[in-house]
Structure formats: structure tokens, C-alpha cells
């Protein structure tokens, strides 16, 4: 499944989608940046509630396919602009991390 296809499902909406055609290889969940950095693998969708600008560098370096902001977390406009510039896909959802994970396990 691609990030764009995921963004079109009911529970997600796109925040940035510069590389919507990117394939999702799996899922990683975490808020501690070093943990995510060391453990997430390339192509995974990363679910988090972190919303500071540093998530962009982590997503870029760990090469995740998209960031999924859970629990209705939002980003400042400046971060959204930077994400677009750095070609980082970001989706958001009102659902809890658990609900998102359950949903993803059914469709990926």
C-alpha cells in the first residue's frame, strides 16, 4: 500500500504528501527519537505523538515512508512547510495510537 492510498482511508488525512507514491513496508511506533532512529527500518510508517521539528530529521534519516501523527496532534505551519521542502510525508489522525495500529495491521 502506498502512503497516498493510506491517506485516502477514513481515519487519516494528509498533512503533507510530497511523495505519496511511496510504498509502506511496515509500521514503527515510538516517541523517543533515538529509539525510533535506531530501530525503525526504511519504508515503515512511523506513528508518534511528538510534534516538534526534530521529527523531520528523524524521519528523513531513518528513511520512514511517512510520519503518522496520532491522537489529534497538530504541527506548527513552519514545520509543515519544512516537511514539504524536505519531501517528508505526514498524515494525521484523531484516533489513538492503538486504534491506528490495529487498523494498519488489517490493511497493510
Amino acid at each position: 500500500m502506498t502512503v497516498k492510498e493510506l491517506a485516502e482511508t477514513d481515519i487519516f488525512s494528509p498533512v503533507t504528501l510530497p511523495c505519496g507514491g511511496r510504498e509502506i513496508s511496515g509500521v514503527y511506533i515510538g516517541d523517543l527519537l533515538s529509539w525510533v532512529m535506531g530501530r525503525a527500518s526504511s519504508g515503515q510508517a512511523w506513528i508518534t505523538i511528538m510534534s516538534n521539528v526534530n521529527i523531520l530529521a528523524v524521519a528523513s534519516l531513518a528513511d520512514t515512508s511517512c510520519i503518522i501523527l496520532a491522537e489529534g496532534v497538530t504541527l506548527e505551519q513552519e514545520i509543515i512547510d519544512t516537511a514539504r521542502e524536505k519531501e517528508i510525508n505526514i498524515l494525521k489522525s484523531e484516533k489513538s495510537i492503538y486504534d491506528i495500529a490495529v487498523f494498519l495491521s488489517k490493511i497493510i
Binding site: M37, N52, L61
Partner: protein, 141 residues
């Protein structure tokens, strides 16, 4: 062996919002050089952790990267407070980061262990009150 390519970055210790920029730029350079994705990932993670440490623990520093035929070498140099007990600092979960830094998602105490795990060679040279130099190498093939 040929000389290899060198890259130099200043890592700003004031600015949290740009933390990680040197690593992101270096990743781009390595991509352009056509290095294997797994090598790029390992260099990226190791360098990012070192870069973040210079920002949160040492007030910034410099990063020098050498790319040779056989390895990518990352040298991080700062004039921060130094590391008192390197063995303790290397332990997973050990961190002296403040709560405000933790609230940003840093300070898990996984940085140095990640650097060790993702590099093939790592050496820490540190003197309390003087600063820290960390050398890492990731072998190519």
C-alpha cells in the same frame, strides 16, 4: 589508496530547530555518491546521534566526514564539558539530559549505544572541562 572526499559542518549549539541538519546534508551527499542504502542509513544514524549530543550536551561543535573507498569516517569535535565516565555514558539508558530536553524526545540514553551499534569502529576521546572528540567508521562492503 585514493585520498577520498571530505566534508565539513559546523553544528550550532544554540539552535534546537536545526539540530540534525549536518546529518541530513551528509545523507544527501552519500546518496549522490551512490553508496548502498544500508551504509547511508548507518552513517546517518551514527552521525545524527553524535550531532544531537554536541547540541544538547556540549553547546555545539564541528563534524568532519571523510569518504574513502573502504569506509566513511565521521569525526565529531566539541569544546563542551567532556564525559566524566565514558563506560557509564555508553550504557543504554544512561543520560544526564534535562526534563525539557526529554520533552522534545531526546535524552533516552540511547545515543552513544546507537553510535556504537551502527558503526564498525568507534573511539571516544574526552577530557573533563576541555571537550570531546568522537571518531566513528562505517566500512563500505
Amino acid at each position: 589508496m585514493s585520498e577520498g572526499l571530505t566534508f565539513h559542518f559546523n553544528v550550532d549549539g544554540e539552535d534546537f530547530t536545526s539540530a540534525g541538519q549536518a546529518s541530513v546534508m551528509m545523507k544527501k551527499n552519500l546518496r549522490q555518491l551512490g553508496l548502498p542504502p544500508e551504509i547511508i542509513r548507518r552513517v546517518s544514524v551514527a552521525m545524527y546521534e553524535g550531532e544531537i549530543n554536541m547540541v544538547i550536551h556540549a553547546g555545539g561543535g564541528v563534524a568532519d566526514v571523510n569518504v574513502t573507498e573502504n569506509y566513511v569516517e565521521i569525526i565529531l569535535t566539541d569544546s563542551g564539558p567532556g564525559i566524566k565516565d565514558i563506560e557509564q555514558a555508553m550504557q543504554e539508558g544512561f543520560s544526564t539530559a534535562t526534563d525539557s530536553i526529554r520533552s522534545l524526545g531526546f535524552g533516552a540514553g540511547m545515543g552513544l549505544p546507537n553510535m556504537k551499534r551502527y558503526s564498525d569502529y568507534m573511539h571516544i576521546d574526552s577530557e573533563v572541562g576541555k571537550g570531546t572528540t568522537i571518531t566513528m567508521r562505517v566500512n563500505i562492503n
